[in-house]
Symmetry: C2
Subunit: 434 residues, 2 copies
Amino acid sequence: MTAAAPVRVGVLGAGVVGSQVVRLLREQGADLAARIGAPLELAGVAVRRPHRHPDIPADLLTTDAAALVARPDVDVVVEVIGGTRPTKDLLLTALRRGAGVVTANKALLAEEGPELYEAADLAGTDLYFEAAVAGAIPLIRPLRESLAGDRITRILGIVNGTTNFVLSAMTAGGDSYEYALKEATRLGYAEADPTADVDGFDAAAKAAILASVGFHTRVGAADVHREGISRVTAADVAAAADIGCVVKLLAICERIRRPDGGESVSARVHPVMLPRTHPLAVVDGAYNAVYVEAESAGRLMFYGPGAGGAPTASAVLGDLVAVARNRVAGGRGPRESAYADLPVESIGSVPARYHISLDVDDRAGVLAAVASAFAEAGVSISTVRQQGRGRDAALVVVTHSAPDADLASTVATLHQLPAVHRVTSVMRVMGEVA
Amino acid sequence: MTAAAPVRVGVLGAGVVGSQVVRLLREQGADLAARIGAPLELAGVAVRRPHRHPDIPADLLTTDAAALVARPDVDVVVEVIGGTRPTKDLLLTALRRGAGVVTANKALLAEEGPELYEAADLAGTDLYFEAAVAGAIPLIRPLRESLAGDRITRILGIVNGTTNFVLSAMTAGGDSYEYALKEATRLGYAEADPTADVDGFDAAAKAAILASVGFHTRVGAADVHREGISRVTAADVAAAADIGCVVKLLAICERIRRPDGGESVSARVHPVMLPRTHPLAVVDGAYNAVYVEAESAGRLMFYGPGAGGAPTASAVLGDLVAVARNRVAGGRGPRESAYADLPVESIGSVPARYHISLDVDDRAGVLAAVASAFAEAGVSISTVRQQGRGRDAALVVVTHSAPDADLASTVATLHQLPAVHRVTSVMRVMGEVA
């Protein structure tokens, strides 16, 4: 089998992931060759500072990424540098001349996916990106291949390890957001500038990819409603615990049936209160997990390490084996499937349920005033709990499902009510809560 | 895209799974066509009693399965009748003339896989079998494609819903095995003749498939050491709870490093005491889950419904889309990968840890006698707990890891010791137990 000509691989980047990819390519050559039917050969590694990579043979290192991707002897380009510029142009160069591409670049795919897919299509070559979502957890392949005969209705994912670590710490220790983030930074779970993680940009890019693949439509990063965790308070976490929930930052992709009978999709990232009995509720620390509901398959969950050099490299190499095998055996992997062409709902029209805690005057008539605010917005209340607290009382309201915009405007109204001293916690809830 | 010639499908069987496959093929035709690039067309359905299938057009029904698989206009054969005779010959006929095959038949694959693979290979066609293990849970594709660039070291699976349901009931209610099985039968979770499930045959076939795919080697059903759940007692379940464990029937596939530096694999099915903190411990009822450890990816878990008509049909249709797409676009899916050609360890040499409960005389010297039995077999004890009970005392021993044969012979010796009244529970344990 291994008599076939080698498949030559150019790697862009030798950082946390790239260095593992290079190591594994060299250590597991025999296994990979047997699985592909031809040896993989490292043709070059593009890095910024060659002297920082003494473990890679000097003649393989180059600072000229543009030249590497244009080399006619490079059959597959592995991209693990991230960013969208100049990465997009590098990958377009590779795809247009018919090279296969394996990328872990969620931001690039979420923003420029269609142009890359089109280039791959025109050249009849492969674009694989398992590593872009949830690290080593096989997810893209299950969604676009294993479930290709099913109708996915919903994807819920814990797809950002940093925020999950912070929220887990807040839940376990009652820590403030600021303290938990500081701990995460100290332990290496958060970057010095944590914006991409804590503000939900990273999760939103992944949500765009999951929604696109799962629903056979195009959802870009800009289509994803995004709220991060920086405004989650210890009070929110405590309020969640009071109703048997934990707070998680979820990427939520849903197929929505519109009143007119048509279909749309929603893709969003925001914190939710999730019942402790939900399979995702027990996913703690830096782990990732994605929960998928499909009409025939039912409820599936995929769980594993969502980041890290070696796990991400595992996903990259799995794709590399697939692309190389396709080149050796003929054929191609699945192309972009966006035929469904579904509109994306704005957050305001998506059905949601809210949990709202209020500090209010402890006197008759307050509940009536609060209840009226909900009623006027057409929002139906599921449960109210009233707790006396000396001078003040607290009201905890969980609503029935209503359009998100109506819920948000109700919260705005509550802020204005004279009897309401403070809105102490507002968060969406999922699933059956007490 | 859908201008391509239809891909014509012959279905063998229209039982619980087959009827769902036929229904979905007809209901989701437009979606499937868009994903494949050509319409799927139902060419025929082979059944035993056509009058029992009024929902399938009469002109599609046939009782002649052999003729259906031989028809040159049938491009892909979907096999959901089960059994090995005459199923094997039917599938060989289809493969040899170049038709693709999608099967959910774990027993056939575990017993006759190599011959089927070889026929597929010679004809250059596809043999897919995602539905054969753990129903709708994408598992075969993740193992043989997503993790193709990694080294899998261990696969632990709850792959039989009937036995998991029975063990969950015994755990939750303290029920006897007999009572729990009766309940499972009444509720439809166990068949009238539950032998294939409770004696571990079903799980052993799946273990053979998982080990073969995961370790790139050949493991047949006969290579799998098999112990079912029929001897699990309420005392075992209680003893497990005492050390923070639950009893699960696991399919266990391990890569083993031999003292000589070589590698082998072990594939076995038996009840184990598993710590409650293990991700598999919380998988209850008829659900399935498979836990995979790989060198780079780390620890992954896949969870979902392991059986049922619609979930299994989802897996079958995912494969059907893949096979049809390969026919339309050119190319083939992955072939059998058995290059590693690893020997299979016999159960006796596999490292294991045992939990053993004994009723013994409550007098000095008994512990010494028992400890000697372990020492003589070279088995090291991890913990001993001694509990007085009036005339009797109970000893609970958890061993360190030792070859299974040495542990088994120690148990045999214990049965002979005059001070030992009764061996009340013997079971292997996995993971860190108290």
